[in-house]
Symmetry: C2
Subunit: 234 residues, 2 copies
């Protein structure tokens, strides 16, 4: 075969961006991490951390790099969310965006805006977001839907808790993410049925109520409940 036959000459090339949606719970509120843009377009507007994929860089690596470069946050397990491939996303021209997301414990993150590239970095309540650059509002909404779905068939919410936690704390995490109250008896019964919680012989004082039992999670990572044949339909 001729060399010409195996080159990429003649095929269109596209600018490819990555955008990262980091969720956390702070003060019983579900929040998302935003950075304030220093450059046009949308200069001064809030946006998701992100940027362009380099020529010899994997898309996954670009997402981690951009997050770190703008917010100092590293060591996050990012999951790919979706690729936004419409042609009109960016006023500068055609830019694809591969979006990633994660649910993190903000207390374990070292958030620090890198002023060389962004003016600021802050956690915002998902229910009171400022106007966002590009189609980032749509990306946040999509990520939120995925996160809520995921709550139903994985143990992703456990990432937010301390190593030992009460069932009330666990239920609280679910309620904040789902944005709705859950029935306490029903929640406890289903959670305990899963067989992934170990009851400790330790208790946590909780105001005027009797001390609440502490639990640990028997797994060290996020479990797909489906694969264990168990599902939590709250």
């Amino acid at each position: 075969m001729s060399p010409a036959a195996v080159s990429l000459n003649g095929f269109a090339r596209h600018a490819v961006a990555v955008d990262v949606v980091l969720f956390t719970i702070q003060d019983d509120v579900l929040k998302v991490l935003l950075v304030r843009r220093q450059r046009a377009p949308f200069r001064g507007a809030w946006a998701l951390p992100g940027g362009f994929v380099g020529p010899e860089e994997s898309v996954d690596a670009a997402a981690l790099r951009e997050l770190q470069e703008e917010t100092s946050i590293g060591n996050v397990y990012l999951e790919q969310l979706y690729t936004f491939g419409d042609t009109e996303r960016d006023p500068r021209g055609r830019v694809l965006s591969v979006a990633y997301y994660a649910l993190v414990n903000w207390q374990r993150m070292q958030l620090r805006a890198r002023r060389e590239v962004v003016s600021d970095a802050e956690w915002f309540p998902v229910r009171r977001l400022p106007g966002l650059a590009f189609d980032h509002r749509k990306i946040v909404d999509y990520a939120l839907e995925r996160l809520r779905n995921k709550l139903n068939y994985t143990t992703i919410a456990f990432q937010l808790l301390q190593e030992e936690f009460t069932l009330t704390e666990l239920q609280g995490a679910y309620e904040v993410i789902l944005g709705q109250r859950l029935d306490k008896r029903n929640f406890r019964r289903k959670m305990l049925q899963l067989g992934i919680l170990r009851a400790m012989n330790r208790f946590k004082a909780s105001g005027r109520q009797r001390p609440a039992r502490l639990y640990t999670f028997t797994e060290t990572k996020v479990v797909k409940l489906q694969e264990k044949g168990i599902i939590v339909p709250f």
Copy 2:
């Protein structure tokens, strides 16, 4: 702001491909649609239908166009699967691939290889795939995992059936996709509990056994069982 500040000059550009994983059930076997490549690289090898995204084309549109151009199949609801963004996927250079998938009823598809672009197009059993071009084997495996997961929380399997079907036929579709036998009583009980099947007053003769009752699906599209608060943990 200066025009230079809002251009995309200086950012890397990437070739972006789409690849389509179409699944069907034929003769009680789960199959995937492959095309035989006419051009280098991997000339003569089997591959997923797909190709490059055009300069002014949305990624979704490119997936539908490539499927149609190579196999004549149109009118499929493709769901985005994953973006494969490693740098070493293609011997010609850096190519991202946005993969899509769907589960279809092959009898409703007009499969015809378009000889201008591919040498052949055929359904292959997922358990006996030929060597595939690029990382397409990995993409098929990933799609299969997603499809099996999806079976647990949506009604995607119903797309394979006729408008009226027996519970045995429905169970058969699940078994073929999951690649394992399911307990008949358990399957029936859970399926009927979902409240998405309407029992007809019609029956289907089935050999020497007594006629089996026919059912219809009460919804006209794929239902997310989670959103209805129901999950099928087979």
